[in-house]
Symmetry: C2
Subunit: 211 residues, 2 copies
């Protein structure tokens, strides 16, 4: 398998974790988002959405959207499930995943920040304030969801898709110096994840394209 | 079942369509987002994420996040699948769903627009420009994905979760007078959906709380 990835992309980071948790090897192909390489015509034929990540299966099939890729991997390799088998547990893991992937991340990804700068003329400081606003808004919701969490991870004592989403989000929050003290339940899960080699090895600084 | 809903919420609209497609009756409970009713303490006990929709099952179990609810309904009621059974088809339907739910909608939902106004001091006209920018960005991606579409709907000749996402997004685009001419493949699917009673009956103007 080939994974089109960028060290700092949260969405690619989620998939790198999932591949590591499943024990699946992949060949990385680097797409430099900050240089706009995802908008080149040759990448449009790889991913019509012009986004990272794209997973290319050995038969050439291309999959995109990080959570669709993770669900695919879970369908294809049922060992160590990333989405539990129980119907209500599945709904919960997906809900926590979407909370990060739909309510926080889109407001803070690179193209949103670039648009705030270029089209709205926001300063670096105003952009950082925007960033931290959505981190605080979203992590408060996640903390409320995890308040009664009895497990080591977001759902139970084994990592799931929700943890694949939570960890990159905390990396982003730290990069923008967000105050994480109000989210102890969330940070407990983060710390548990980072003790696992699958999460640690997937982090931005440990990628070959890290700057 | 009870559905906490708001007529204009795209996420609630998606779930209303899915419930209709599955032939499942529900009792609506109205949460007026524009009045901030989702931020009231009593709603926090219903949905820790303080978002609409929430689906309450007959045994009192509460589910949130629209796509997690739709996947749950599909797990619980396998007839008329909203996510196909084939592994690659599942990945595609999910990818198209997330393209709408994670790449377009979060940038244009009510709390984002309110923040642009209140925190960034953007005018109504500037906000409308922002709105249309993300519609154009996202629908161009969706159109690229649907360019070779042979089916009546986003994936094949029966509606799926992707269609539950596409239709509310087009309603939003029209509300902000976006130019939809560049997206003929997308609009063909939209028109096919709107011929179905399940989609038509779920639209904002036909809800009891419509204004």
């Amino acid at each position: 398998m080939k994974l089109y990835t960028y060290f700092r992309s949260s969405a690619a980071f989620r998939v790198r974790i999932a591949l590591n948790l499943k024990g699946l090897a992949y060949e990385p192909v680097f797409v430099h988002l900050a240089k706009g390489e995802h908008r080149r015509p040759e990448y449009a034929s790889v991913n019509p959405q012009a986004l990272v990540p794209t997973l290319v299966l050995d038969d050439g099939t291309r999959l995109n959207q990080s959570l669709a890729i993770i669900e695919y991997l879970d369908d294809a390799v049922p060992q160590k499930p990333l989405v539990p088998k129980d119907r209500l547990a599945r709904a919960r893991v997906r809900s926590l995943s979407y909370l990060v992937a739909s309510e926080i991340h889109p407001l803070n990804n690179l193209r949103t920040l670039q648009h705030l700068k270029r089209a709205l003329g926001q300063s670096e400081e105003q952009i950082a304030t925007w960033y931290r606003h959505w981190i605080a808004d979203g992590l408060a919701k996640l903390e409320a969801e995890l308040a009664d969490n009895k497990g080591k991870f977001c759902h139970g004592d084994a990592p799931t898709m929700a943890d694949c989403c939570l960890v990159p989000q905390i990396f982003n929050a730290r990069r923008y110096d967000s105050d994480l003290a109000p989210y102890p339940a969330t940070m407990r899960v983060f710390d548990a994840c980072m003790k696992l080699e699958a999460f640690d090895r997937a982090q931005p600084a440990k990628q070959p394209d890290a700057e």
